[in-house]
């Protein structure tokens, strides 16, 4: 849906030349000058970005509420996230914002070749970001680090660099009923109600398990909330990256036809603004989710 929107917005023009704008093939009939069309599109995309900020605002608000009410959940659960991957992804997105901004300049100066190159790099960065996100998500799913009632972590989940850096490896304070050997075998038998291996002795109730850093003798209640917020925020952000990739691919095709120049570079400009916003949201998400102290 978002794609359709931005597509529309970035492109009110497509050659409906009803009132003799022969010299400007992309000037829509209801505008008088290319300048007016550009300014209209610019206001439109800014308003759209405002709606995007508010759209994410709901999730940021939920984050602020739950973090202020239950700081221990966030303090505890952020160790599950891999700061290294998050930092790499931050760099990837910032770099792609540079190429996106550069592409706008290329379009204004009609440097078609550089424009195509810069858009292509931006697209590659988008794919790179999604690839890393895929790696992170599959770890989470594998380790049972999921929202709501699906939160059933394996002991394996503690093998994160952040945790090891702070507490060293092999420091899992596992419960007597779940020895180390089981951790390697991806034991999921932690929830009191389901999934307990029949061969083991009666599993220790989830709330009494001793896992994680030493200051958390007992896991705080409702850690699943952190993962609810993590998956909602990064998932929605990921959808926006995918939509952005789609828009860039479409603009890549148009750019390779040499459609953009000093009189008509609006679509590139608007897409870059959208891309910067997506980048900016990630720049907030990274510290809020990964870098909690």
């Amino acid at each position: 849906m978002s794609e359709a929107t931005t597509a529309d917005k970035t492109h009110g023009a497509d050659g409906h030349d009803h009132s003799g704008h022969g010299e400007f093939p992309f000037l829509a009939h209801h505008f008088d000058t290319p300048q007016q069309q550009f300014e209209t599109g610019k206001l439109g995309i800014w308003l759209f970005l405002v709606t995007e900020v508010l759209f994410f605002g709901g999730l940021f608000c939920a984050y602020a509420l739950y973090r202020s009410l239950h700081p221990e959940v966030f303090e505890y659960a952020h160790f599950f996230l891999d700061t290294k991957w998050g930092a790499i992804n931050t760099c990837v997105l910032i770099f792609s914002s540079v190429t996106a901004a550069w592409a706008v300049r290329n379009a204004q100066l009609k440097q078609t070749k550089m424009l195509v190159i810069n858009i292509a790099i931006t697209i590659l960065c988008g794919f790179g970001f999604m690839g890393i996100k895929y790696v992170e998500y599959s770890h989470k799913i594998h380790d049972g680090l999921l929202p709501g009632s699906h939160y059933q972590p394996t002991l394996h989940a503690w093998d994160t660099p952040a945790y090891k850096a702070k507490y060293g490896s092999g420091e899992h304070a596992t419960s007597p009923a779940a020895p180390h050997g089981k951790a390697a075998a991806h034991d999921k038998g932690v929830a009191p109600t389901e999934g307990a291996p029949a061969s083991e002795a009666k599993p220790v109730p989830f709330s009494e398990r001793k896992v994680g850093p030493h200051e958390f003798n007992v896991e705080p209640r409702n850690v699943n909330r952190f993962f609810a917020i993590y998956f909602c925020m990064t998932g929605l952000h990921g959808i926006h990256v995918v939509v952005g990739i789609g828009i860039w691919v479409w603009l890549l095709i148009r750019a390779s036809r040499g459609e953009f120049g000093p009189q008509y570079f609006g679509p590139i400009d608007y897409a870059a603004l959208y891309w910067h916003l997506v980048d900016l949201i990630w720049i907030y998400l990274f510290p809020l989710l990964y870098l909690i102290h």
């Binding site: 209801h30 209209t40 439109g44 999730l59 509420l65 929605l236």
Partner: protein, 546 residues
């Protein structure tokens, strides 16, 4: 400016032929007409559900349907009327048709986005209907958690439909804001804009700023229900009151999204049918903006009994009182506009006068509810139901009907039957009061809203209310009938049947495809009627010297 011809040879309706030319059109007038047909169709759906509810309440206990079906019927009524009818009714349907014309522009800023928003409306409506035909949601239109995440009815299609309709609304608002900022022709300064445009602008601001929050809230609700993420579910540590905050952060401004365009419509009708310049132009214009701003700060008055802190409730209550000020400014200015004017009682004016009356009742009873102590007594009773129906039905729908009659000659090129219009408008207004006034009395005596069963002492009031509902239904049937007949048999409309001076009356009826042959040059305000005189020969007003 274009000559006030009565040609219907070449206009936006005849410009292209065939269903496909409508479904792919980028013309704002055609999109507006498609919106209007869809909105009126949804009004029939929501109205039928309302009659089912009212019929069921004829007697205490079971009358025609079971209690489960009753819950589904009032949910359908609420969701259809709010999301499908009232929110898009005036802005997307009437606004689309007349906004660029009134502004002097050739189209809205983003014609494709405009068409996309109509398609989103259709898709959203299909999802609501999908919920209806599978196992209709029974949550009420507010979708409160945790009930909405635990009921067995098909909530997800209904919520997803509302989510999509939200985007339709956002895109309309975004389009209108940009159009008003960037497509004003030379001479059309902010304070020469017709008041309807000020109202649409204020509405658009709210649509753009409030609706995304509803979007994310409904999205979280869907994910909550589908996979149980636990953001709103207390069993998993979530907070159901958070849902209420998010929901009302949108849905209180949404109340103004529904009523502010209605203010705009009657602000056009009062001066034209009083043949007198509008009184207090700047006050009416800026009070719309004030309502738009204050409307964001009052959502907590829906939650006085939800465990909100007393401090927060006090602040929300105080800001709610403040909203009465810009609203009252409007009412006083409309009344003063009519003072010493030459009032013509044609159908649009009857609806506007009815609006003034019933909306004032609705607004003042809102003040009762904003007082925390009385609200504790009246909360979730029929008093609340009566209050918001006086505002939504008596305000928004009455103004929609007024505007529909006012611009009908312009959009269809035909005149409707004036006598029937006057009679049916009186039937509707009488039925409206008969339906909802008894609900004030019942509510103040403790009849809770949304109940299937009730104590026998409320039966008379319920039956009066049901009779009123059928009376309104009769009025709407008559209206639909004469409007449809007028399309074939109505008198050919003159360019300016009412003597308005806003720019849409300067073009022919219906307007040409490109609105204006030459960009209009505006040298005066939109309410200067001195130059327009009635011409019996063409049955409309003509301008001196033309």
């Amino acid at each position: 400016m274009a000559a006030p011809g009565t040609t219907i040879d070449e206009n936006f309706i005849t410009h292209e032929k065939g269903l496909l030319s409508w479904l792919t059109t980028l013309d704002h007038k055609r999109i507006g007409v498609m919106y209007l047909m869809c909105v009126l169709g949804a009004f029939l759906l929501g109205g039928t559900a309302a009659l089912v509810v009212r019929t069921e309440l004829w007697t205490p206990g079971p009358t025609i349907i079971s209690h489960d079906v009753y819950n589904q019927a009032f949910t359908l009524h609420g969701a259809a009327m709010v999301f499908l009818v009232i929110i898009p009714g005036i802005p997307a349907a009437l606004g689309n048709i007349v906004l660029p014309l009134m502004l002097g522009a050739k189209d809205v800023a983003f014609p494709r986005l405009n068409l996309a928003s109509w398609y989103l409306w259709v898709i959203g409506a299909l999802f609501l209907i999908a919920s209806l035909v599978t196992n209709a949601a029974d949550t009420g239109w507010t979708f409160y958690t945790p009930y909405s995440t635990t009921t067995t009815t098909s909530v997800i299609p209904a919520v997803f439909g509302a989510f999509i309709l939200g985007f339709s609304s956002i895109f309309t608002g975004l389009n209108f804001m940009t159009t008003i900022h960037k497509l004003r022709p030379p001479g059309m300064t902010w304070f020469r804009m017709p008041l309807f445009l000020w109202a649409l602008y204020s509405t658009a601001v709210m649509q753009v700023l409030a609706t995304p929050v509803l979007g994310i809230t409904l999205l979280m609700l869907i994910v909550e229900r589908a996979v149980g993420i636990g953001i709103f579910d207390p069993k998993l540590g979530g907070d159901p009151v958070l849902f209420q905050h998010f929901f009302w952060f949108y849905s209180h401004p949404a109340v103004y999204i529904m009523i502010v365009p209605a203010f705009g419509v009657v602000s056009e009708i009062f001066p034209v049918f009083s043949r007198k310049r509008v009184f207090g132009y700047k006050f009416i214009a800026l009070s719309s903006v004030a309502i738009a701003i204050l409307g964001f700060l009052v959502w907590g008055h829906h939650m006085f009994t939800s465990g909100q802190s007393v401090v927060a409730s006090t602040v929300f209550s105080a800001i709610t009182f403040l909203i009465a000020i810009p609203t009252a400014i409007k009412v006083f200015n409309w009344v003063t506009t009519m003072y010493k004017g030459a009032v013509h009682l044609e159908t649009p004016m009857i609806y506007s006068l009815g609006f003034l009356w019933v909306f004032t009742i609705g607004g003042v009873t809102g003040m009762f509810l904003s007082v925390m102590s009385t609200d504790i007594h009246l909360h979730d009773t029929y008093f609340v139901v009566a209050h918001f129906h006086y505002v939504m039905m008596g305000g928004a729908i009455t103004a929609l009907l007024g505007g529909l009659h006012y611009w009908w000659p312009k959009m269809s090129g035909r005149m409707y039957n004036e006598k029937l219009g006057q009679v049916s408008s009186l039937i509707v207004l009488f039925g409206l009061n008969l339906t909802f006034f008894p609900q004030f009395i019942m509510g103040s005596r403790g009849m809770p809203r949304r109940y299937y069963n009730y104590l026998p002492e409320f039966q008379e009031m319920h039956q009066l209310s049901t009779i009123g509902a059928y009376m309104m239904g009769l009025g709407f049937v008559i209206t639909a009938w004469y409007l449809i007949v007028s399309l074939k048999k109505g008198r050919i409309a003159p360019a300016n049947p009412w003597g308005g001076h806003t720019l849409e009356w300067h073009c022919s009826s219906p307007p040409p495809y490109y609105n204006f042959h030459d960009a209009p040059v505006i040298t005066e305000g939109p309410y200067e009627y001195a130059d327009w005189t009635y011409d019996k020969k063409i049955g409309g007003y003509v301008r001196k010297g033309q």
